[in-house]
Symmetry: C3
Subunit: 322 residues, 3 copies
């Protein structure tokens, strides 16, 4: 995102009472993400696991913490809450009333391809790009700047491009992170009824070609879904997770944020996916239905499971068994 003017890092440090390291005159006129760094831009780094993204970065400068600053060589603004300062810069440069909101009755600069069928009750934001032969059912909302490929079908009530659930704590209170990214939907994608796909914080939430998504699915900000993956109803996928191609995700599953699932992974219904999966195959979790009478006893025992297992191990040690 282009800012209204060029800033020096000294200007920002003075304004928000931060420290500096490196050339105080280092300047930027845009913001970008670490992963998609742009020349003359600033970003923020608050997680050491992202440090390698600064190798060969295009950034002019970065906002970071005192701890991380010792390993960084580009010009820096140093603060305890880098994303908060980053958000401040964005907020200073956007009239959010104008940027985020859209009056569905008078959208501007929308590009529609040939042979689209768009219902009367659909709300489309500014600068939305819609491909050819797209069908959008009633009561769907598409926020500004989102892009939709050819032959896409979006069922009723779906929401494309709502703000991600990005929050930071400052003085123990949740502060909203501004979301200036968008959603990019490929060709031949179908999206079920009342599904929600959030816009990325800075870059794009990406739904690749031929992805099929059922009803009431939640796809969070910055998620990427690979080609020809099918996602059944009531699935939730948390932020920044990357899912490969040709996967199937069973209904009601929950997928953690910031993980990666490789191609050709098949996940059973109602699975809790807490960590990355890097081997194709079938995966599941949880326990399946049984009468309440036995379930009550078994599920109570679950809470003794570790003690039970340790007990057995001790027992075997005593008897000399392996």
């Amino acid at each position: 995102m282009k800012l209204n003017k060029k800033y020096s890092i000294k200007e920002i440090a003075d304004l928000y009472d931060c420290q500096l390291a490196g050339n105080h005159a280092a300047s930027f006129d845009s913001v970008s993400s670490l992963i998609n760094s742009k020349p003359n831009s600033i970003s923020f780094l608050s997680d050491s696991s992202h440090m390698k993204l600064l190798d060969n970065t295009n950034l002019s400068c970065v906002i970071t913490t005192p701890e991380l600053s010792t390993n960084i060589s580009i010009p820096m603004i140093i603060t305890d809450n880098p994303q908060f300062i980053f958000s401040k810069i964005i907020r200073e440069n956007i009239d959010f009333k104008e940027y985020c909101f859209f009056d569905a009755s008078k959208n501007t600069n929308v590009t529609k391809g040939d042979s689209c069928l768009i219902s009367a009750n659909v709300a489309i934001g500014d600068n939305v790009k819609i491909g050819n032969n797209v069908t959008i059912y009633p009561n769907t909302t598409i926020y500004n700047n989102c892009e939709i490929g050819d032959r896409v079908i979006i069922h009723a009530g779906s929401v494309i491009g709502s703000d991600g659930f990005g929050l930071i704590k400052q003085n123990n209170v949740w502060i909203k992170i501004p979301h200036i990214g968008n959603v990019v939907i490929g060709n031949d994608v179908e999206i079920g009824a009342n599904t929600t796909i959030d816009r990325a914080t800075i870059d794009s939430t990406v739904i690749s070609d031929n992805v099929k998504i059922d009803n009431l699915v939640h796809i969070a900000h910055n998620v990427q879904i690979g080609k020809n993956t099918a996602i059944a109803a009531c699935v939730g996928i948390a932020g920044s997770t990357i899912i490969g191609g040709n996967c199937t995700i069973g209904g009601g599953s929950g997928i953690n944020g910031h993980i990666e699932i490789c191609d050709n992974v098949h996940i059973h219904g109602m699975t809790m996916v807490t960590k990355s999966i890097n081997k194709p195959g079938m995966y599941a979790s949880g326990t399946t239905v049984e009468p309440v009478s036995s379930w009550r006893k078994n599920q109570a025992r679950f809470k003794e499971l570790d003690a039970l297992a340790r007990n057995i191990k001790n027992e075997k040690n005593k008897t000399g068994d392996v």
Copy 2:
């Protein structure tokens, strides 16, 4: 809720063939909840655990069961299905066609603060109060009598104030409980896309200041959420549950009805919360993803877990171990 006229309990008992206890001439001209009892009003008591709510009550009289009646000293209407008679009284006094329904194209008596951005496709009911600087995205519905604070953001497709899922059985058939309460949303609240918040049966469903709610969340009737609590996507919170302040609830979690969760509780994603939590900390449930081949075996063994544990205990008793 004010009724159309003043009733004596004898009048009601005669009409619906109920018994009486206490002063037959005891009268009421409104209905209220037990917890928020109003003078000159009637309520119902069908659960012994709520008995203490009758201490120092403002109620004129109460509808209760034969069993519970022996411990109550205020005038009573006695019946096997107290909530059914209570609902009958409400239905007699409301033209539900007028009360519940709203024609979104001609809402009346709506109060809007300054600088609100409300999309063209938003449907707002009668007597809705909206604070200052509120942003409401398209295809959102706000039922009548709901109240929304300052700087609230409601994303597309959300529904505020739909009837709670309140049903009672009468002659083995589900009967709808009329919902005459509302939803009250504090300041600086953000509500995600396609989230639903039901109106209270009689009083208010309360979303406190600075609460942040993600997409596709369900908040049932009479729930109260404390300040600065954040709720991730796909969470369901059942009726009358009270959640404290500064909590975080992970995506896909389900929270039982009629329980309390204290301040500073952090719940992992996909947790099944069946009972009250009265100690701050981190909580979780369930099992996490594994390959289907091992999962099948482990989850089958779960159903033998109690037998297994009892077995081990017996074994230890035999061998004299502790």
Copy 3:
């Protein structure tokens, strides 16, 4: 569904390069499902468990696989992907632009009963039938050909009749199965906010009289729900499942596709129902909340549960115990 013309099976086999068995001149002028077979129609059979549906069938002919063909005596089109050819026939005969899509602002041939309250923002498709005393709240969408009984209440944002999530793989790519069925909703049904009910592939998704459905529930294509069953919020029911009468399904539960649940079954919240239930009673699954510190250990042990159990069994065998 009536086709545009009468076809011989030879015509289809020539067109799509399939084999034939039985009378090559066998003809059809409509498509139907196996379970609801119509005279002069064609259907497809790709699952041996459905073979018995061909006894006493009204079909003129069927599309099936080489393996299954040896047990079928009616005229056949033989191919490796029967549903793909079946879908091709449907697509050849429907202008999907005209059939599926509807302009909510000018619906045609809609039948509405007396005393209905239908909000200004509701989108209703062509040929929808609505009974008497029906209340439909704003931003609801009802796709074409659906039928709604008397005294039905549909809360805001719900979607009735969206396409089922029916996909087939052809050359390793997902192909959409056309959905030409509808949703039939009985009398006295209540449907919560932002709930989605998909249309059947060929016949009807059926919600029987007095069924009560909460918010954010997903009911897939071809599901049947029996009378007076109540379904709490955030439940997902997968395709073709049949649920009996007088059941209750707790919030957040997931019910597998193609199973049957008998009358009077009560399912706890967040239960994973993977198989048919043919005995009335109460059912549950999963484990309930505990502090993260103990949960981490117990859930890790879950993955050793089968090994643990086998270990104990071996131990007992050694010691001669039973």
